[in-house]
């Protein structure tokens, strides 16, 4: 099935084909576009998701003092700043000799992280994707947004907005600001949870757990109402990757890397953070700024994988909270012995994780270490650190080397969305093949492509950290007609 789709990566005789573009891909975070090339029979011969933006973080972080990094890297992404904040802090813990962290520091970071998972998953499901799922992929474009959901399903929209709000408040309470705060520092945390914030969060958490359970029910209801669509839309086989805890439990803050193949067999396990490069390679393709990672031993054609909720829920051996674990079992049963590979099942898995995050927060809020205790640990200074975390969208890798002058000499980032690059491209090819080929392309049909991309919850902001190329000539004029910038390249 997948070989058939890979032929849609690059068409022959591209010049003779008609180009259709979806630009920008909307209701996702960041900048991406999709190009389709069609022949005279309207058959799709090529489909590509391009990441079109350029930023350059990896390069301009080099030369900065290491302690600036956890705050700087958040500006990679305003949706999951906490993930970058914590992955960088985890990597730099090794540089300041701060491993292991104190109990207080680790729990505070975990609280922040699970708050982030909760808010991001709520945002993705309710604000961004629910319009497709509640109204239909081809529904009226003017209504296909969160405002439309608020009009048609006010209670669903309200719970979605309040779930996200709670997650954002957890972040504010631990990092000082909802977006781009400063809680974690290399070696620990710079604050405890205040008594006032603790009470505020405690007062709401029971309700948040209940709403999260309702959200899982809502997704299951959608699956039951149209099983064929939910099981088959953009479905394709791939392996999975995520970190898991040493005992195999789901752990989104810390663990070792584990890979499974498309049949669900574990093919690599217990890969330590610092060894990520021995298992992951990245391929560059000229038509996207986002690289294509794969498991080294299987090579680029067979070694790519999915990350994120769908991978994590099936890669772990169990989820260590009670409601989410029951939901995980029901989810696995749906696969009848095979891994669930359906793209739309990402939403189901995502809501199970949101429930898990709510349960973890509930447990943590009973822990006195959040309010008092040593926050910083110190040890022998190192020169290198790798930090891996499960961000809302998947495995996030930060890797730094720091010289004796405290300046970062090397920075390498592999962000979650990058791991899903091949999977998202395969998904849009599956959709193009099945739903678009040979038909007159309407806005609603094109939205099918975006529905498939959205399921992965890509963060194209994160994915644009690397630098890009300037292949043409451009003159930029200011408002009054003066030339501001001129660029020539061949």
């Amino acid at each position: 099935m997948n070989e058939d789709l890979s032929r849609l990566e690059t068409a022959s005789e591209r010049e003779s084909l008609r180009r259709v573009v979806i630009d920008p891909v909307s209701r996702v975070e960041g900048h991406g576009k999709v190009t389709l090339l069609l022949d005279e029979d309207d058959s799709v011969r090529e489909a590509r998701l391009h990441i079109v933006e350029f930023r350059g973080f990896e390069v301009f972080i080099q030369g900065r003092p290491y302690w600036e990094v956890p705050v700087m890297v958040q500006r990679l992404c305003g949706i999951c700043p906490v993930s970058h904040h914590l992955a960088a802090s985890k990597a730099l813990d090794h540089v300041v000799g701060g491993v292991p962290l104190t109990a207080s520091a680790e729990k505070l970071r975990r609280l922040m992280h699970y708050g982030q998972i909760l808010q991001s998953h709520a945002l993705h499901f309710f604000h961004l994707s629910s319009p497709d799922l509640l109204f239909g992929f081809e529904s009226d474009v003017g209504r296909r947004n969160i405002v439309g959901v608020a009009e048609a399903h006010p209670e669903i929209a309200r719970q979605g907005v309040l779930l996200r709000k709670f997650g954002q408040e957890v972040i504010r309470a631990t990092a000082g600001k909802r977006i781009h705060g400063t809680g974690a520092v290399p070696g620990g945390m710079n604050r405890h949870l205040s008594v006032a914030d603790h009470q505020l969060l405690k007062a709401e958490i029971a309700q948040v757990v209940e709403w999260s359970r309702a959200a899982v029910e809502l997704v299951k209801r959608l699956h039951r109402a149209d099983p064929l669509l939910y099981d088959e839309f953009a479905c394709f086989d791939s392996g999975f990757m995520s970190i898991v805890r040493d005992d195999g439990a789901m752990d989104l803050y810390h663990g070792h890397l584990r890979f499974r193949d498309a049949e669900g067999r574990i093919i690599r396990d217990r890969v330590a953070e610092a060894d990520y490069r021995s298992v992951i390679c990245e391929q560059v393709k000229p038509w996207s700024y986002m690289k294509f990672p794969y498991l080294r031993e299987l090579g680029p054609d067979a070694g790519w994988y999915k990350v994120g909720p769908l991978a994590r829920v099936q890669n772990c051996d169990f989820i260590p909270t009670i409601f989410a674990e029951a939901e995980r079992r029901e989810f696995l049963a749906h696969g009848e012995g095979r891994p669930v590979q359906a793209t739309l099942a990402y939403h189901w898995a995502r809501m199970i994780e949101m429930l898990h995050a709510a349960e973890v927060i509930r447990e943590l809020l009973d822990d006195p270490d959040l309010l008092a205790g040593e926050r910083m640990s110190e040890g022998a200074r190192g020169r290198e650190g790798v930090g891996i975390i499960e961000a809302p969208r998947g495995t996030l890798i930060h890797h730094y080397q720091v010289d004796d002058d405290d300046l970062v000499s090397m920075c390498n980032l592999i962000v979650s969305t990058t791991h899903n690059n091949q999977a998202m491209n395969t998904a849009i090819r599956a959709v193009a093949n099945r739903y678009l080929s040979g038909r007159k392309l309407t806005e609603g049909l094109l939205n099918h492509i975006e529905v498939a991309i959205r399921a992965f919850d890509p963060c194209l902001s994160c994915a644009t950290h690397a630098l890009g190329q300037m292949p043409l000539v451009l003159e930029l004029e200011s408002a009054d007609g003066a030339t501001l910038d001129r660029l020539v390249r061949d």
């Binding site: 909307s26 209701r27 975070e29 960041g30 900048h31 391009h50 079109v52 933006e53 930023r55 350059g56 990896e58 390069v59 700087m72 958040q74 500006r75 305003g78 949706i79 700043p81 604000h127 961004l128 474009v141 003017g142 296909r144 947004n145 969160i146 405002v147 608020a150 309200r158 907005v161 309040l162 709000k165 600001k177 909802r178 977006i179 781009h180 490069r277 990245e282 560059v284 393709k285 000229p286 038509w287 690289k291 680029p300 390498n412 939205n447 975006e450 963060c459 902001s461 630098l467 890009g468 190329q469 300037m470 292949p471 451009l474 930029l476 200011s478 408002a479 501001l484 910038d485 660029l487």
Partner: protein
């Protein structure tokens, strides 16, 4: 849409240029006010809707500076269509963190990331015509178009954005008190 709303609703468009989406997330941090806002305005092009081109609007909110030809095109379309154009956040106002690349030589950086990294397969700098042309500097948006208002912060808080918008929508001159003006 209620028939009772006599006053035509204002149209609001939003876009992210070279930004991190944090300003859009902060916009969503108005939390429940979102429902109030939805009664007062309707959304045009925005990452939150599926409208891909900006039409005639009353208010345009811009996040992010200008780093490539695509950004220039979108920004000019917003200026041409929006009666009031607002620069939201540090990146739109002065380039923000992405402007850190302004002191780097692009060619060398590209090679570093796409060619000289360890663990790289098929190294080479992406150069497909589908990738928009990059500017060698990141520019604040006021260098390219006229801007009516600037809201500082990285990002401005949800509260700040709500105060600003509710003033503007009610026809008042937006006023941000000291606590609402933040630059971090």
């Amino acid at each position: 849409m209620s028939q009772l709303d006599k006053k035509p609703r204002l149209r609001v468009a939003t876009t992210s240029l070279a930004g991190c989406f944090g300003c859009h997330m902060s916009f969503l941090d108005i939390d429940e006010h979102l429902f109030e806002l939805a009664r007062l305005v309707e959304f045009d092009r925005s990452p939150l809707t599926d409208i891909k081109e900006c039409g005639p609007c009353d208010i345009g909110l811009i996040e992010g500076g200008v780093c490539n030809a695509e950004n220039v095109h979108v920004l000019r379309a917003f200026r041409a269509n929006c009666k009031t154009l607002v620069a939201v956040g540090a990146c739109a106002i002065n380039g923000g963190l992405p402007a850190q690349r302004n002191h780097l030589e692009l060619e060398a950086c590209l090679r570093e990331v796409y060619e000289h990294r360890e663990g790289m397969d098929a190294p080479g700098v992406p150069n497909d015509p589908e990738l928009p042309l990059l500017l060698d500097k990141v520019h604040p948006i006021h260098e390219i178009v006229r801007v009516d208002y600037f809201i500082p912060g990285c990002p401005p808080s949800g509260e700040t954005i709500w105060k600003f918008l509710s003033d503007l929508i009610a026809g008042r001159t937006p006023r941000l008190s000291h606590e609402l003006l933040r630059f971090d």
